[in-house]
């Protein structure tokens, strides 16, 4: 049954108010958050929502009546998980009222009085994941996250933290029942990549393209670091793969930072100018060498 008029139980000549009224009535009846776990109701709600997307506004309805394809502008009513879906395995919001109500005590009383007074079990641990910018991970930062009990948790991210590392917050998990201790909260850190940089322990690695002329003569070259660009002295006669160290520009606390290791990469000009080739031939006569024999 794909006819939205039929699904909403209205005639083709019904006005927008009637359609809206009928939709509201059906949506209230079948809303997944008012019928938790009832798959049949959820299916009906989706059908009703989709039908209302199709003919709920005069504009959409005119399109539908002309037989035009329905274009989904956004995820809309019928798409994505319902709120109940996100909560029924344990969601932050379901625990957000815990403390106001007396938390676990409320449920103990509810479920039981004397018979259940001996029930004790620990609260579950909760696992969070947190994205941290490359620079924040290197130099440390503070973030605020929402916990399942609705409270905020200030997460101090130590300088030099690496991806996959878990921070533990004792007692910040789900509350225990009875004498059971609360679980712990774990925050797993995911360090977001930063173009041109990578991390190895406390050191930050980067690649620096230089011209072959700079490689021969050496000189001062601007190098990006996580603290901004700085000037670095390149010695004469470096090769691709030569690694230079910039002290104290790596990851870690301000008084004990790692280093930035810059790996040089000699890059030729995109086009070889005939004059350059000529010059190189002259140089070759005078200074040729065999790098395979060194």
């Amino acid at each position: 049954m794909n006819d939205p008029y039929q699904i909403l139980g209205v005639s083709k000549t019904a006005d927008q108010d009637e359609i809206k009224k009928s939709y509201r009535k059906l949506a209230k009846k079948y809303h997944p958050d008012l019928n938790p776990g009832n798959k049949e109701a959820e299916k009906k709600f989706k059908a009703v929502s989709h039908a209302f997307d199709q003919i709920g506004t005069a504009e959409a309805r005119a399109k539908f009546d002309r037989g035009e394809e329905f274009e989904q502008q956004y995820q809309s009513r019928s798409g994505g998980p319902s709120f109940y879906d996100t909560q029924h395995d344990g969601g932050r919001y379901s625990y957000s009222f815990g403390d106001e109500m007396g938390g676990a005590d409320f449920f103990e009383n509810l479920f039981g009085g004397a018979r259940h007074r001996d029930i004790n079990f620990p609260g579950e641990d909760i696992h969070y994941k947190m994205d941290v910018e490359f620079k924040e991970a290197a130099l440390g930062t503070e973030k605020v996250i929402s916990l399942t009990d609705g409270k905020s948790l200030r997460v101090k991210i130590p300088a030099g933290i690496e991806s996959g590392k878990k921070l533990r917050f004792k007692g910040k998990g789900r509350p225990g029942i009875g004498q059971g201790a609360a679980g712990d909260a774990y925050v797993e850190i995911n360090v977001k990549p930063l173009q041109g940089f990578s991390r190895k322990g406390k050191d930050i690695l980067s690649e620096l393209p230089i011209s072959f002329l700079d490689a021969i003569t050496g000189g001062e070259i601007e190098v990006p670091t996580i603290d901004g660009n700085i000037m670095m002295t390149i010695p004469a006669g470096v090769s691709t793969g030569t690694r230079l160290r910039i002290k104290g520009r790596g990851a870690g606390p301000a008084d004990n930072r790692g280093h930035q290791i810059v790996e040089l990469k000699i890059v030729m000009p995109k086009n070889i100018d005939p004059a350059l080739k000529e010059a190189a031939l002259n140089l070759k006569d005078q200074f040729n060498y065999n790098p395979r024999m060194q």
């Binding site: 938790p36 502008q73 998980p81 709120f83 932050r92 919001y93 379901s94 449920f107 479920f111």
Partner: protein
């Protein structure tokens, strides 16, 4: 768990950014990461729910927190019942 910034959340839900900001100010939505803020699937489903309650069911600002609170309690109740069943 995928996180969305407010503009992306707005696109997914079809709810304007300023309305989402108001939901956050009213504390009906507690974004998973309050610093930026970022919204996860729970937040997004809740934004849609609040929008439906407001737009389709005519729930006003006074009644909204009560309804959300009752829903949260109901969902918590389901969870606790489930835990008792398991233990």
């Amino acid at each position: 768990m995928e996180r969305k910034q407010i503009e992306d959340a707005s696109k997914i839900c079809g709810v304007p950014c300023e309305i989402i900001t108001r939901f956050v100010e009213e504390e009906w939505i507690l974004p998973v990461d309050q610093t930026t803020p970022f919204f996860d699937s729970e937040d997004i489903a809740r934004i849609k729910l609040i929008w439906e309650l407001h737009n389709d069911f005519g729930v006003n600002d006074e009644a909204m927190p009560i309804i959300l609170h009752l829903l949260d309690q109901l969902n918590r109740m389901h969870l606790e019942l489930e835990r008792f069943r398991i233990h």
